[in-house]
Each structure stands twice: as structure tokens, then as C-alpha cells.
């Protein structure tokens, strides 16, 4: 689960990590008031969306007066911001973050991730801040420092000093860097986060470290333990079909092809998409109905898949282990009757209660295209497109 920059900074502030003075605004008037409260002569107005590259897309604006702050807030709020990471459709901006502009002397990168191969929380740091860390890693691998953290020990000060010294945070900055890293690690561990990124971490004014931009993402399997983090969820940043699907216990991801897929199990769902692709078709979605799929769940799956106007044929592929083919078949028949589905439906059933499932489909008298196996199903689905 991703959260906004202003939320991340709120959280970091609660861990005593220095962040710029500022607050979120959802109207231009509020933005102006915040600028007045902060005081000073220069401010920055930052569009709040769950995508990076905002600077390149015009989503970060400098302002020299309160009127200027209001003007930028007014222009940003309500627009669709297109950045290198949003795709061509962009993201709808509902809020901005108004902050005091900073006098930046030098920029660094500091991140925490969970390294899959090391199976540890790992700190990533670089003297090259303000840039995409993957680009830095690709072009200047020696400029990216990685340190895995032993979960039994936590993050000891010496390890932070090692990192700080390698990226050139020495002198009076070193002790600030150590505290900041330890606090960030504590926050990351306390909330079972998956990713935290301060980019840039900057030296501002006379020798002060500040988290100028920050983002975090959290483990969907753990957030329910932390109501403060759960409250940060922004449904407007999620695909409404995916939100609706998850409400029905379905895992749905929209793609851009024309073969609607309804499958049990994530691996088989991907393999079904692959088989369709192999036969020169294109899947319209990933959809995993999971285990224990009731007739209602199957009917809901049809409803969600058919909301996509690009869907021209549906392929249902169930290999029932915990699931039952008879329940699935009942759901398919219900969906066909209640939803007046006109698109061709290819059905492949296998596993638990297979015979009962086939009988239900046959007795319904509905025009299913039945398939014997995965290959047959994918081929028939692609043929039905023509």
C-alpha cells in the first residue's frame, strides 16, 4: 500500500526525522493560509499523487508570494498530472503539499527495502541524490552503497557511520545522519513497511540534514495491525474495478487485451494469460478467484470482467483443489442467465467434482464452448475472437 508524500512526512516527523515545515491543502485558499503560517519568502507547492517524476510533469512549483502559492495550488488541484510514471492517462490531483522552499547545498539518496536475495532489510545510500536510484545503480554502481541489517541486532550506530562516511556525510553531519538512519529504520520496522525512500536527503542552510522528499509503501498483509497507516489509504489512487474485486475476495488487475480471464490461483492465472498470448491473443485482465469459490463469487467475477468494454470473449479456467467444479459451474450458469452475457464463454474445468460440474453446464442448455485442457481452452478463446 502506497501513501502520499505529505503522509510520509507526517509519519517521519513523528519519529523526529527532520522534514521541511509544511502541510497538505485541498483548496487554493487553504494553500495560501498554510504559506502565511509557515512564513518566509519562498514556498514550494507539490502535487500529491502516488507516482514519481512529478517535477518533470510540472507537479512541483516554486512560489515567491502567497498569491503565487494560491495560483499554483489552483492550477494543480483538479488537473490530471502526467509524469513519466503515470502513463499517458495521468493522475487526478486532489491535494497539494505546501512547504517552505529550501536552500539546498547537496543532495543524497537514502532508502530502505527488503532485499529478496539477502532476505534482510537493506539500506541503500548514495552520494547522488535527487535522481532515480535505479539509473544511478545502472550507470554508477560504485556510487550505490548497500548494507543489510541483522534483524536480531537492529541497526547499530557503527553501521550507520560506515554508510555516512562512504557517501561523504562526515564532520558534524555524521551524527545527524546516524540518528536519522536509526529513526528511519525504527519507523520501517515498527510499521512493517516494504519500502522507504528519502530522495533527496539534503544538506540545507548551514550543515543541517533534511528529508526534502520522501515516500513509503507498506505491506498489505500487515497494515491492518496499524490503524494510523490504514487511515492513509487513498482509494482514489486505486483502480475502482480492483477495489470492487477485492471487496468480493477476488484479485483483479486490468490489462489491455480482449480475452477476459477468470482463473483460480495466481500461478495458473498467469499461465492462462501466457497460453492466450502464446496463441496470439491478448488477455484483458488477471483475475484469481482464490480458493473456496462460491457460485456468487464466480458470478461477481463475470460482472467485474465484463465491465471492461474491450472484453470480447471470456475464458474460465478452473483447476479445482480446494475449489469444487460443481459450485463453479453453478456460478457460471447463474451469471450467464442473470447477466445476459452475449460474449462467447469458454469453460475449462478440471479437478474436484469435475463430472458434476460438466453435467450442470450441459443440463443448462446454454451455449458454452467447453475445453478439455489449458491449450484447448486458450486456442478456442482466441478463435472465438475472430
Amino acid at each position: 500500500m502506497n501513501i502520499h508524500e505529505y503522509q510520509t512526512k507526517e509519519l517521519l516527523r513523528s519519529y523526529d526525522i527532520p522534514v521541511p515545515e509544511g502541510r497538505m491543502a485541498d483548496t487554493d485558499a487553504a494553500a495560501g493560509m498554510i504559506a502565511e503560517e509557515i512564513g518566509g519568502e519562498r514556498w514550494v507547492v507539490k502535487a500529491q499523487i502516488h507516482a514519481g517524476g512529478r517535477g518533470k510533469g510540472g507537479g512541483v512549483q516554486l512560489a515567491d508570494s502567497v498569491d503565487d502559492v494560491k495560483h499554483h495550488a489552483d492550477k494543480l488541484i483538479g488537473t490530471n498530472l502526467i509524469t513519466p510514471q503515470t502513463g499517458p492517462e495521468g493522475r487526478h490531483v486532489q491535494r497539494v503539499l505546501v512547504e517552505a522552499a529550501q536552500d539546498i547545498k547537496k543532495e543524497f539518496y537514502l532508502g530502505l527495502i527488503i532485499d529478496r536475495s539477502k532476505q534482510r532489510i537493506t539500506i541503500i545510500a548514495s552520494e547522488s541524490g535527487g535522481m532515480d536510484i535505479e539509473e544511478v545503480a545502472a550507470n554508477y554502481p560504485h556510487k550505490v552503497i548497500r548494507e543489510a541489517v541483522d534483524p536480531a541486532i537492529g541497526l547499530p550506530a557503527f553501521q550507520c557511520r560506515k554508510i555516512a562516511s562512504r557517501i561523504g556525510l562526515t564532520g558534524p553531519l555524521m551524527s545527524q545522519a546516524v540518528k536519522l538512519m536509526q529513526r528511519l529504520y525504527r519507523c520501517f520496522r515498527d510499521k512493517k513497511a516494504l519500502m522507504a525512500e528519502i530522495n533527496p536527503l539534503a544538506i540545507v542552510g548551514a550543515d543541517k540534514l533534511l528529508a526534502v522528499d520522501a515516500k513509503m509503501s507498506f505491506d498489505g498483509n500487515a497494515v491492518h495491525q496499524y490503524p494510523d497507516i490504514t487511515a492513509y489509504r487513498d482509494f482514489d489512487e486505486e483502480d475502482p474495478k480492483e477495489v470492487e474485486a477485492s471487496g468480493h475476495g477476488l484479485n483483479y488487475i486490468a490489462l489491455d487485451g480482449s480475452v477476459g480471464c477468470i482463473v483460480n490461483g495466481a500461478g495458473l492465472a498467469m499461465a492462462t494469460m501466457d497460453a492466450i498470448t502464446y496463441h496470439k491473443g491478448r488477455p484483458a485482465n488477471f483475475l484469481d478467484v482464490g480458493g473456496g469459490a462460491s457460485p456468487e463469487k464466480i458470478a461477481n467475477a463475470f460482472r467485474i470482467v465484463l465491465k471492461d468494454p474491450n472484453v470480447k470473449v471470456i475464458l474460465l479456467n478452473i483447476f479445482a483443489g480446494i475449489n469444487r467444479c460443481d459450485w463453479v459451474a453453478t456460478g457460471v450458469v447463474q451469471a450467464m442467465q442473470d447477466q445476459h452475457i452475449e460474449e462467447p464463454v469458454v469453460v475449462r474445468l478440471s479437478g474436484t467434482n469435475y463430472e458434476e460440474g460438466q453435467k450442470i453446464l450441459k443440463d443448462s442448455g446454454l451455449p458454452f464452448i467447453t475445453a478439455n485442457d489449458l491449450d484447448d481452452a486458450a486456442r478456442k478463446a482466441v478463435e472465438a475472437l475472430a
Binding site: 541483522d150 495466481a266 498467469m270 494469460m273 501466457d274 478440471s350 479437478g351 485442457d373
Partner: protein, 290 residues
């Protein structure tokens, strides 16, 4: 012969008296699995499915000599249950739950250092040696005793592969699910190594998916160390980058972990790579004849 579990395994279920656990324990008992008891905290001293229930894994191990555990507790309690099993000296721990926080598994993997236990999962359909022992949620009737090892991340894709193989007369020595999570216990290399040492396994089917580099590392290991054929498939050719495809671990985060890049890397080190997931069975057939 087989790997990890067999007819002599002494199996307990943690979360034994729960609904799912009960159903799958009954199924396992039907197929000959030697379930010697189970653990449900607070219900120690009672009986379930004619077997003793214990409050702790340590009690169960002491009373029954259990050496395998199926962890059937909900995801928020799974890490604790795994730690308990490791501490009690269980050697083979199969973790079914889908949805264990990643950082919980970081801690579990740290605790595993210095302990002689192997974890399968989390988020696995389990491990089965057909005809001898089943610890998991897979439908036993699609498996058949035989001489091909199977190792996969996904459960249902494992069923798909196994059904294709069984239909062509290729039974399985042991089929292992290592799970769909980003941080898991046994990896592909652990399973290949055991399969390589098993005199009754002639070939191994390795079914992976997008995300991470475990499959490629396993293929490289196999080229160095194995003389048995490896048949490989990576699910997710059609998956877009940056989207999590159901499994927490199935997400393309860089060029190297796309399905195509992984399949090419595996092919380059001698794996029989299957491009169409419907051809897993026939590729096994050809590899064994070739």
C-alpha cells in the same frame, strides 16, 4: 524413495482443530499420511480425529516423536508457529498461510540460522510424496507415484503440470511447493539438490514465475551440479511491470526478472524451457526420452 517426506514421516498439524486443518488432515490420513497428532493451544489433552492434541509443539514432539509439521494457523500467527516448530526441533515445516507479513519472515529466516530445519512456504500448496505422505492442500488424486520431481511456487500451476504429466504416464517422486511469497524457506536450489541426490528421481520440473532471480540461480546451479534433466517454465510472460500478479513475490521490478529474461537465462544453461504452459507434460516426456 523420495525427498523431505515419506511413509515414515511423523506428521503433526499446527492449528490442528481448525476447520481447514481438519479437512486437510482427514484427506491426508485417507492417502496414508502418518499424522501422529496436532497442536492447538488451550486444547492440550483432548483428542481430534482419534489423535492426541497438544498445547505446544514441544509437548507434541516429546510425546510422538514428530519430525514434520503442517502449519495451518492464520497468517498473523504463522511466524510465531514456525518459530515454535523450529525451536521444538521439527525438521520439515510446511507453511500454508497466504498473507504472512514479509518482515515476519525476515525474522523467521534469521532464527533459522543455526537450526537444522527446512521450511516450505509460506503460501504453498504443500509437499507430497504420492502414495506415502501428503502435507498440504493439494488434491491427492491427480498425483501418481513415479520418478519425476516437481518444484513450483504456485499451487494450481503445480496441479496443472502434474495433471499433464500423470496423463502421459509420468508419476512424481516428490512434488514440492516453495510458495509464492518474496521471502520463503527452501528455495529452488535446495529442492534440486535433494532431487539430485535421490536415486529414485530421474528428472525435475521447475515451475517459477516473474519476480526475483531464484529460478535463474537454480538453473545455473543445475548446470554445474546435476546430470538429471531439468524442465522449466516461468509464468507471467504477459504480466506488465510493476503490478503484483496475485503472489506477493510475483512482481516485475527490473529487466532481469521478467519471464522472458528468466526463461532465456535458464535455456542458456541447459534447462528444457517450456514456452507454452500447456506443453509441460510433453516436454517432460521428450526430455526423458531424449
Amino acid at each position: 524413495m523420495s525427498i523431505f517426506i515419506n511413509k515414515d514421516s511423523r506428521v503433526i498439524y499446527q492449528g490442528f482443530t481448525g476447520q481447514h486443518s481438519t479437512f486437510h488432515a482427514e484427506e491426508a490420513i485417507k492417502t496414508g499420511t502418518n499424522i501422529v497428532g496436532g497442536v492447538t493451544p488451550g486444547k492440550g489433552g483432548s483428542k481430534h480425529l482419534d489423535r492426541p492434541v497438544f498445547d505446544t509443539v514441544a509437548d507434541a514432539v516429546e510425546a510422538t516423536g514428530a519430525n514434520v509439521s503442517g502449519v495451518f494457523v492464520p497468517p498473523q500467527f504463522s511466524a510465531d508457529a514456525i518459530l515454535e516448530a523450529i525451536e521444538a526441533g521439527i525438521k520439515t515445516i510446511v507453511v500454508i498461510a497466504d498473507g504472512i507479513p514479509v518482515q515476519d519472515m525476515v525474522r523467521v529466516k534469521r532464527y533459522l540460522i543455526g537450526h537444522d530445519a527446512m521450511i516450505f512456504g509460506p503460501n504453498t500448496a504443500g509437499v507430497i510424496t504420492p502414495g506415502e505422505c501428503k502435507v498440504g492442500i493439494m488434491p491427492a488424486n491427480i498425483y501418481a507415484p513415479g520418478r519425476v520431481g516437481v518444484v513450483s511456487r504456485s499451487g494450481t500451476l503445480n496441479y496443472e503440470a502434474v495433471a499433464q504429466m500423470t496423463a502421459l504416464g509420468h508419476g512424481q517422486s516428490t512434488s514440492v511447493g516453495i510458495g509464492g511469497d518474496p521471502i520463503n524457506g527452501a528455495n529452488f536450489v535446495d529442492v534440486l539438490q535433494a532431487s539430485n541426490e535421490d536415486p529414485d528421481t530421474d528428472a525435475v520440473v521447475l515451475i517459477g514465475e516473474i519476480g526475483g532471480q531464484q529460478e535463474v540461480e537454480a538453473a545455473e546451479w543445475a548446470q554445474e551440479n546435476m546430470d538429471k534433466p531439468v524442465i522449466g517454465f516461468i509464468a507471467g510472460v504477459s504480466a506488465p511491470p510493476g503490478r503484483r500478479m496475485g503472489h506477493a513475490g510475483a512482481i516485475i521490478s527490473g529487466k532481469a526478472d521478467t519471464a522472458v529474461a528468466k526463461m532465456e537465462a535458464m535455456e542458456a544453461v541447459g534447462v528444457h524451457v517450456v514456452r507454452n504452459p500447456a506443453d509441460i507434460g510433453t516436454t517432460v516426456d521428450q526430455a526423458l526420452k531424449g
